[in-house]
């Protein structure tokens, strides 16, 4: 926050910001790969993951809440960091707002989606949609911040 608020400190902030963005990109890619390998890109794959292969062995409530707990930490931190960096990036405010609030809505929906699949005993498409949107919005925000960081100084 201090680095972001005091523009004169920005040059010193740039190397760690770039390193953070690299790790954030890797984390996001890893998170997405995990989901894809668990069948997250098809409704049938999602339903098999949460409800069992024949729909008769649903995941325990503890597993659903654990996923929500871990996901909230990952998404919350990423959004906080990327949102704060985007706030000082020299980009159109409209674009920044769309990407940030889109990411916020999509990640919150993605956290809620497993409960919808479990309670509706189906609706795997909801989870596919929230996963794709959350990943796309976060990736776009990351690219935006990365491009601004590569381009030069933040807005004062």
């Amino acid at each position: 926050m201090r680095f972001l608020v005091y523009p004169s400190a920005a040059p010193r902030a740039r190397p760690p910001v770039r390193a953070f963005l690299l790790f954030a990109a890797l984390a996001l890619a890893g998170f997405a790969a995990q989901r894809v390998f668990a069948g997250g890109l098809t409704p049938a794959g999602v339903e098999a993951f949460y409800l069992g292969p024949d729909g008769q062995e649903p995941l325990a409530a503890v597993a659903l809440w654990e996923e929500l707990h871990v996901g909230a930490f990952v998404y919350g931190f990423l959004l906080f960091m990327l949102g704060s960096l985007a706030a000082v990036a020299p980009v159109a405010p409209g674009l920044r707002r769309v990407l940030f609030f889109g990411a916020l809505a999509a990640t919150l929906a993605d956290l809620a989606a497993p409960f919808i699949v479990a309670s509706a005993h189906g609706a795997g498409l909801v989870r596919v949609g929230t996963f794709v949107l959350a990943t796309a919005f976060l990736a776009a925000l990351l690219v935006l911040v990365g491009a601004a960081s590569a381009a030069g100084r933040p807005r004062a």
């Binding site: 926050m1 201090r2 680095f3 972001l4 608020v5 005091y6 523009p7 004169s8 400190a9 010193r12 409530a61 503890v62 809440w65 654990e66 929500l68 707990h69 909230a72 930490f73 998404y75 919350g76 931190f77 959004l79 906080f80 990327l82 949102g83 704060s84 985007a86 706030a87 000082v88 707002r97 940030f100 609030f101 916020l104 919150l108 956290l111």
Partner: protein, 190 residues
């Protein structure tokens, strides 16, 4: 809010406070679902139960839970306390107490799990108290963050004064003088 430039961080800060609530809420649900919520059930969770056919927790199992939490909880507390401290929303003493209680409860909570298993079952009370303390402080931090950034426009300096910085990015005397004129920022909070 001592610096109007902080207004641009309103959305990420408010989003973070929402996520803090989700983290605290899901932690409470998991505590009840996994540990039972009552001291006797907590002790049973760590020591195992013949009646329930559950084995005692292993050192490896305890570490599997403790290690990610030893990183994640301080990171969350550091981030939120850093922002709240930066805007000087609390007096120095209140801020110090809140920081000490939150980090203390986090550490006690992690340690108490090992304590129940390897030292004394009665430490289940400490586990429960530490968890409750951490939850309350997390809610407090989330509330503070929300209160600060929801009021960001009302607390803006009317004259538009901002922090002066020297070449190394160190704040100069301007904010102190501005505070002295309009009162301490914490007095503007509910």
């Amino acid at each position: 809010m001592p610096d109007e430039r902080l207004a641009r961080f309103r959305a990420p800060a408010l989003a973070f406070s929402v996520y803090l609530l989700v983290i605290a809420g899901s932690a409470a649900v998991l505590f009840v679902l996994k540990l039972g919520g009552a001291p006797a059930l907590i002790a049973e969770h760590y020591l195992g139960s013949e009646a329930r056919f559950t084995a005692p927790s292993t050192l490896g199992g305890l570490l599997e839970v403790a290690v990610p939490h030893l990183l994640a909880i301080p990171l969350v507390l550091f981030a939120v306390s850093h922002v709240v401290g930066f805007v000087r929303a609390l007096g120095r003493r209140s801020y110090g107490v809140l920081v000490a209680v939150s980090f203390g409860c986090a550490l006690a909570g992690v340690a108490a799990g090992f304590g129940v298993r390897f030292v004394a079952p009665a430490l289940a009370w400490a586990k429960l108290a530490a968890f409750a303390g951490l939850e309350v402080t997390l809610l407090g931090w989330a509330g503070l963050l929300a209160a600060i950034f929801l009021r960001v426009s009302r607390l803006r300096a009317p004259t538009g004064e901002t922090f002066a910085v020297d070449a190394r990015g160190t704040p100069a005397e301007v904010p102190r003088a501005a505070e002295a004129r309009r009162g301490r920022p914490e007095e503007a909070l509910p």
